[in-house]
Symmetry: C2
Subunit: 388 residues, 2 copies
């Protein structure tokens, strides 16, 4: 189902999922039989114009979102901005955006950019993740959290935080970057107001594959799009001079979508048609538990950075080690691909669609020998590249 | 060099350029040999992280932008928003965004969205295109214009408007959607402050291919990015909690770029390496002059909507006809693909990379017979699709 290179144990599907075999043909078909043959007509004849909504519905089924409440497009950073801008305008009397200091930086950066731009006295608060619930006060407009911490894998209590936030009159935005395709999510059932995520991690959509945004159907009609692009207009091809938002979730569309990327994503999402997220979660826990046991048995110097309770973490396991960067380079050189996150985190993702116990054991053995023989202790492994 | 279907005369490269043959292999290679083989490592080993800048430089050579002043990413709507948000903050005492009522709607919509979001008393003024220069007053923060009118093809006087705007203390943003790859542009020589554009029209980058943004090197260091995403950070992989913009044009990057779309664009841009924009312009004028003469000789009922002086228009020719929509459907059914723009514009683009006189004559004959025999007068041609 996926193309994985020989001799590689890939524990980094939480950073970039592997190539679905079906994506090769799907993208080639979109190029040759759609773009190359239908040219401009393909927007109608091949349904290009409806892809953001159609792919949104496919993702919706994986995160508990009703049909017509998710749309695909742009990057996760842009989707964060759209959700935040909408949220602060739905709570005009409040000035606090509450996040946490473990959130992925781009979410915080987009909030900072929005606050500076709006210049309305808003403030970004970033307590420690475990202090978020207690920090939800009556001046909070919106709580913006990533469900699964990108470094430690720690899970926030989504339903609990939503209840606390709503009781205080605040809205909640969930970043599902490390949740979608990793564990069961029920945005609608939990009462999330907004959710955003990317599709190039557990959903295997390809490098830089488009992001998605969910808006709770009860509030989408009140959302005033800040990034009011023509494809979010109620009648894009009327070419009116004045913006008028589309009725529902399509108002969160902005510009012309990159169709080749959409073709790859569509093929990647087809893989999920017969997959139960509960099964994926159960297998992921088996694999991560095995991994922790095998690594800890071999490497006492690695400190578990993820919650030990599997129900308290997402689908990744992280260890701390001062020379983590060099260790990860040494592992990659030996065919075990995870990633490093500053300052000292070795991160490994568990993706049952293409990993099994044999992979986990092989990885643990490589980690064990690398640590035991200090194979990482080499200047070549300390030289940093752009992406680590 | 391009794959064009048999029996089609494609006069819509100004809406979606055709498939460059080299793009098929380039995208396939990016999928199979980079994504599929290198996986996450490709960000370093295959230079993915530097593509937005590298492709920006390739585009820069076509629009007179120095190396390191253009970056590729997102959609044109997003790039318009970035430029506008930067511009109004560089002119804090001024409240007017000046455009024209012929501008492509998404540019106006993004301005409206920004104005509503900032809520600082800004105003969007949209005089007729010919009245823009006279409307540049001391309260104008930024003049935002599309050089080539998407309906009529009328060209703005870029250097003249920039001089007038700068004399009044205003900044200028040029949308080059219908300019890049169509005619010589010299953003740096003309003194433009910002330029934005898309790559799926004359640059043939593929459906929804990424947009680009140019910022004048003298002011880029003063630009405060409103869409402050992690890949515009000075040190994205330090994962700092606070945003700090990259030194130069890279601060206009936002999120993770769609690499498959970049691979197609890269192949499409290679085609331009040995092409002179002056030659392209000269050939485009020959073709469009021939087209006007041949169509007018056959179809007195079509009214030329483009400037008759070829130096006053871009690389397209438009005619008005009350039943323009049905006419265009009839033409497409007969293998002549142009497009329709509401309310009554038949639009034809001239792209010398893959069109010659024989194509123009064939198109003119088809248009002539369609009009003469009222072949468009059929209910089937009046039914509107989503994209027209």
């Amino acid at each position: 189902m996926f193309r994985l290179p020989e001799g590689v144990t890939y524990l980094d599907g939480n950073s970039l999922g592997p190539l679905p075999v079906a994506a090769i043909e799907a993208v080639n078909r979109t190029m040759c039989e759609e773009w190359g043959t239908e040219l401009i007509r393909a927007w109608n004849t091949r349904g290009w114009i409806g892809k953001p909504r159609g792919l949104g519905d496919r993702i919706g089924r994986l995160i508990g979102a009703p049909a017509g409440s998710v749309v695909v497009g742009d990057t996760l950073s842009i989707k964060v901005f759209q959700a935040l801008a909408a949220a602060i305008r739905l709570r005009p009397g409040r000035r606090v955006i509450l996040s946490d200091n473990g959130n992925f930086p781009t979410d915080l950066y987009m909030a900072q950019g929005l606050i500076d731009l709006v210049d309305g006295g808003h403030e970004l608060r970033t307590p420690a993740p475990e202090d978020v619930a207690a920090a939800i006060s009556e001046d909070v407009a919106v709580v913006m959290l990533t469900e699964v911490d990108y470094r430690t894998g720690r899970l926030h209590d989504m339903p609990g935080i939503i209840r606390t936030a709503h009781a205080a009159g605040a809205l909640v935005i969930w970043d599902l970057a490390h949740s979608a395709g990793a564990l069961p999510v029920d945005v609608h059932g939990a009462g999330a107001d907004f959710a955003v995520g990317c599709t190039y991690k557990y959903l295997n959509g390809g490098p830089g594959a488009p992001a998605f945004i969910y808006v709770e159907p009860g509030i989408v009609g009140s959302v005033q799009p800040a990034l009011s692009g023509w494809l979010g207009h109620d009648a894009p091809f009327a070419f009116d001079l004045d913006y008028r938002p589309a009725a529902g979730i399509e108002r969160m569309r902005v510009g012309t979508p990159p169709l080749l990327a959409y073709a790859a994503l569509e093929a990647a999402l087809m893989v999920w048609e017969d997959v139960s997220m509960a099964d994926v979660r159960a297998r992921s826990i088996q694999l991560s538990e095995l991994f922790i046991a095998e690594v800890e048995a071999r490497c006492p110097e690695l400190e578990l950075a993820s919650p030990r309770d599997p129900l308290a973490r997402g689908s990744q396991v992280s260890f701390r080690f001062p020379e983590g960067y060099a260790v990860m380079q040494a592992l990659i050189a030996r065919g075990v691909i995870g990633d490093f996150r500053a300052p000292d985190i070795l991160r490994f993702g568990f993706t049952p669609l293409y990993l099994d116990e044999a992979d986990i054991l092989r990885a643990a053995e490589t980690i064990g020998s690398t640590m035991q023989h200090r194979l990482w202790d080499d200047d070549a492994y300390r030289r940093k590249g752009a992406v680590t």
